[in-house]
């Protein structure tokens, strides 16, 4: 038993729904009690889909238990076939139905539906959403994809995009364009917008582009083994990764590299106004694929300092650990958001790149944040074209990550006039449109503050503050508050570490500036 407040991933049958909902002509009969239908709203509300997910829930109730839940399943499967006329069906159990052990696969086989029926075995009490999507897609491919002669021209399949994926719709468009610029056509894109008949055509492609290892790696390996289709290992998120991806495709196909078009990110990062981005401390957390890609972009393409890196899906722990090591970090692999929050609070980054969970953590801690990975909320399904992959993806990512930060010149002005009563750091970046308010913590009159209490124990708001074993003297505490918020956390941490290392127990203004000089770079 594990206490959970918020969860990064849903149960595995939600992963199966992401595959089913992405596809056309496929129907999912899910043995489940009433209430599990909540999952429909993930697709209709968060992703704004204009169709119900193609899922029939058997809706058993307490009074059915010990009675005939098996017949309920059979009736539901028969009726779903008649009503929806799918080309193929997937059948399975949600967490509760798994416990009553009705064997949906066997029951569906027994009623002999006139279409392929693919049973899913998704262990709800040990696995999660990404596993469910990966396993479901693999089972569909295993049953439906057959060896075929290769297409005459060089083609590939795009595999991995699902419903409720982070920017999957636009990534598919971007990668399709990118491949077309090399003369590679897309044979089948799946699961997104594919029919079971399309899955059956997958064998005609020369190779597979594994867009999202989270949802299609098992299928990619299966297709490699059974149909002899190699798959791409580089996920083209970021300028460097996109170039590596194109090189990988060139090697696989023997085609020449295309001319780069539309790529603006490297110049935007190189232009002088981006100087202020140098060494900004970023914390990165998400699914393994997006976290690794984000770290590479942050460190090598924008010039941030990666101070923390992790993922919530244990399946990607190994590559994430390896990636973290290249930045001199120990990866955080956890699905407990409280652990992530504690780590972020400890590291005091200047920017967080994460999921919707980290967005909430960022809001709570007052740190700028951009979203890089599922799970995401309704605002991360934008109306506009907004891919993460390919060269346009690199442009989008640059804009998205820089936007939450205070702009360079503004940062300088805030540093110069840090005590201005209107133009102060707590007002937030000026391009975000929030109303600037008067400085909330107007410094007390100097005379009043410096008279009397200096021991710091009785009047904490006025005198020194105790943090751990090191004490901040009142004037040093006030000086610290003059440092803009986006570097204040770092300054505070560095000064305390400096003091602790030097055996200083009370931090004065001098200690603060000695620490600053010590850490200067």
């Amino acid at each position: 038993m594990k206490l959970t407040l918020w969860t990064y991933e849903g149960p595995p049958h939600v992963g199966a729904m992401r595959v089913a909902t992405a596809m056309k002509g496929l129907h999912y009969v899910l043995h489940a009690p009433q209430g599990d239908t909540y999952a429909d709203l993930l697709f209709t509300m968060i992703e704004r889909r204009n169709h119900r997910p193609p899922v029939t829930y058997t809706t058993f109730q307490a009074r059915d238990l010990g009675g005939d839940t098996a017949n309920l399943f059979k009736d539901a499967a028969r009726e779903a076939f008649v009503r929806f006329q799918p080309q193929a069906m997937i059948v399975g159990a949600s967490c509760t139905a798994e416990l009553i052990q009705d064997d949906p696969g066997g029951l569906a086989e027994a009623i002999g539906l006139p279409c392929p029926v693919i049973p899913l075995d998704l262990p709800s009490y040990s696995r999660k959403e990404n596993f469910g999507a990966d396993e479901t897609f693999f089972q569909i491919v295993k049953v439906l994809a057959k060896p075929l002669p290769r297409t005459e021209a060089v083609t590939c399949n795009l595999i991995g995009p699902t419903a409720l994926g982070f920017r999957h719709r636009d990534d598919v468009t971007e990668i399709t364009r990118l491949l077309a610029s090399m003369g590679v056509a897309v044979n089948v894109c799946a699961p997104l917008d594919a029919t079971p008949a399309d899955i059956a055509r997958m064998g005609a492609a020369h190779f597979n582009v594994l867009m999202y290892p989270e949802t299609a790696e098992t299928a990619a390996r299966h297709l490699e083994k059974s149909l002899g289709q190699p798959f791409t290992k580089v996920v083209p998120i970021g300028t460097h990764a996109t170039r590596d991806f194109l090189a990988e495709v060139a090697t696989l196909t023997g085609l020449p590299l295309p001319a780069e078009t539309g790529l603006r990110q490297p110049w935007y990062a190189a232009s002088v106004d981006s100087t202020y981005l140098t060494g900004k401390r970023v914390y990165i957390f998400g699914d393994g694929t997006h976290a690794i890609a984000a770290a590479r972009i942050a460190a090598k393409e924008i010039g941030f300092e990666v101070v923390g890196l992790g993922c919530y899906n244990r399946e990607q722990a190994r590559p994430v650990r390896a990636s973290a090591k290249t930045y001199g970090l120990e990866a955080l692999i956890t699905d407990d958001y409280l652990e992530v929050e504690a780590e972020i609070a400890r590291l005091q980054p200047e920017l967080i790149l994460g999921t919707q969970m980290e967005r909430h953590i960022a809001k709570r801690l007052g740190i700028p944040c951009a979203v890089i990975s599922a799970p995401v909320h309704v605002q991360d399904f934008p109306a506009r074209y907004s891919p993460q992959m390919g060269f346009e993806g690199a442009n989008v990512i640059f804009d998205t990550w820089v936007h939450p930060l205070v702009m360079g010149l503004e940062e300088h002005l805030l540093t110069m006039f840090r005590e201005d009563f209107e133009f102060h750091d707590a007002a937030g970046p000026s391009h975000h449109g929030a109303k600037a308010s008067a400085r909330p913590d107007v410094p007390a009159e100097t005379a009043e503050a410096s008279s009397g209490e200096t021991s710091g124990q009785k009047m904490p708001e006025d005198a020194a503050q105790v943090t751990g074993e090191v004490i901040w003297l009142a004037d040093a505490e006030r000086e610290l508050k003059k440092i803009p918020f986006f570097v204040r956390g770092k300054a505070k941490r560095n000064t305390e570490k400096f003091a602790a290392d030097k055996g200083v127990t009370a931090i004065s203004i001098d200690t603060l500036y000695e620490a600053k000089a010590h850490y200067a770079r």
Partner: protein
């Protein structure tokens, strides 16, 4: 209503009972508002990852403050042996209570998986109650989808609290059902003004204010889905006051009059107190009703609020209910409502969502009230919809909210007219 056509109500309308796929939430969803209402309570769902994911999805956006609910997610080893599951539960509860010393009431909430593996949460609650008394009171109820639909979770929670309420012989009025604080304050002010005091509420905002109950307690519901709580209070000897529910000017007035009559309060004083809020509500509703008058409305089952809301919309806003679906129709509690609801609509109980969608498509109502899973797909088919869950998450009871309630139905229609001006006229 014309004098020469006798009013015909839905009292004797046959009910279409359906059995099939239900597009509804389970009772766990009630935790979303109950945990904010009861400020020193924590709701610990003993369930699966699905339960945790549901609560997160139903909360829509996550609540920034650390929520006072969580899920103890069952893992494979918990399924292997119930003894171990109980030990694990005790450990998680102890850890939770040490981290949250402000918690005074802990609800162990049963789920589909915990019911199916027969994890006895009532015994677990007794055991934990003994261990953590007197600081924390531990109770249990089921919010499982195999037993409860959406708002029935609140019913199960309040019903579980009733046996533990202190006893009293005092003649007090008890108002039952979670209301937004602002609405509750308005209601208490009006009840005080008509002379109905002392008045207690269930649930109370804090466990120190738990209402006592006994043979001289008169109680009245403000929510229509509290059948089990209603029965549990009667077991404690309390006497129920039957009334329509306080939605709209008419419902609110009949509700206050029922209280006044049960307590023997002078009618003229009640009328005097209610006159001003009644006039305000009538005026405000009339303005909104201009958008609603003559429009047809179709209710998918959701919260058991459907029949009272259809009554309000038909009688005060001039809407024409086509079908009124409810997850469960409690004959006794609904009798005053059905007596007011004009004859005409199909009354349906339970659901076969595919068949009901067929009926809605055939009827093409001007407005469809449905859950979040159906709303966008129906909008895409050109049907204006109102998300039912908003009716539970918005202050809608009593006089000052009557026009807001009407407004929730008017807004989708106004929006359709704004976005498709050619279709408006």
């Amino acid at each position: 209503m014309s004098l020469d056509t006798p009013f015909r109500s839905c009292t004797n309308t046959p009910v279409l009972k359906e059995r099939g796929q239900r597009e509804v939430f389970c009772g766990l969803t009630g935790i979303i508002w109950l945990h904010r209402k009861m400020q020193d309570a924590f709701f610990l769902v003993v369930g699966s990852r699905t339960c945790a994911h549901l609560l997160q999805a139903a909360a829509g956006v996550m609540i920034f403050a650390e929520p006072r609910f969580g899920t103890a997610i069952l893992e494979e080893k918990d399924l292997a042996g119930l003894a171990d599951a109980n030990a694990e539960l005790d450990r998680e509860v102890a850890r939770l209570l040490s981290r949250r010393p402000d918690i005074r009431q802990l609800f162990l909430v049963g789920s589909c998986p915990s019911e199916v593996i027969k994890l006895d949460l009532s015994r677990a609650a007794e055991r934990l109650d003994a261990r953590h008394a007197p600081n924390v009171r531990v109770l249990n109820f089921s919010g499982s989808g195999i037993e409860t639909t959406f708002t029935e979770g609140e019913d199960a929670c309040l019903a579980a609290m009733v046996p533990a309420l202190p006893a009293t012989d005092a003649a007090e009025l008890l108002v039952v059902g979670a209301l937004p604080d602002v609405v509750e304050d308005q209601m208490l002010a009006l009840l005080a003004a008509i002379g109905a005091g002392p008045v207690r509420t269930l649930p109370a905002r804090r466990s120190t204010d738990l209402p006592p109950v006994g043979a001289n307690t008169r109680f009245i519901l403000v929510q229509p889905f509290l059948g089990a709580t209603h029965a549990a209070l009667q077991v404690r000897g309390a006497k129920a006051i039957s009334a329509p529910f306080p939605f709209g000017e008419e419902g609110s007035t009949l509700w206050f009059h029922a209280v006044a009559e049960a307590l023997g309060l002078p009618r003229d004083r009640v009328d005097a107190v209610l006159a001003a809020p009644r006039a305000r509500a009538q005026k405000a509703v009339a303005a909104v009703a201009q958008t609603l008058r003559g429009k047809s409305i179709f209710f998918f089952p959701d919260s058991q609020l459907e029949i009272p809301l259809a009554r309000f919309l038909a009688r005060e806003c001039g809407m024409i209910p086509v079908e009124v679906g409810t997850p469960y129709l409690h004959r006794e509690l609904m009798a005053p409502e059905l007596a007011l609801l004009p004859e005409g609509p199909v009354l349906s109980e339970g659901q076969d969502v595919e068949l009901q969608l067929d009926r809605a498509r055939a009827a093409r109502p001007d407005l469809t009230v449905c859950g979040l899973g159906l709303a966008n797909p129906l909008e895409a088919e050109g049907l204006a919809t109102k998300w039912a869950i908003e009716l539970v998450f918005t202050p809608v009871h009593f006089y000052e909210q009557a026009a807001d309630l009407a407004g929730l139905f008017a807004r989708p229609l106004r929006r359709h007219a704004l976005l498709t001006p050619e279709a408006a006229e």
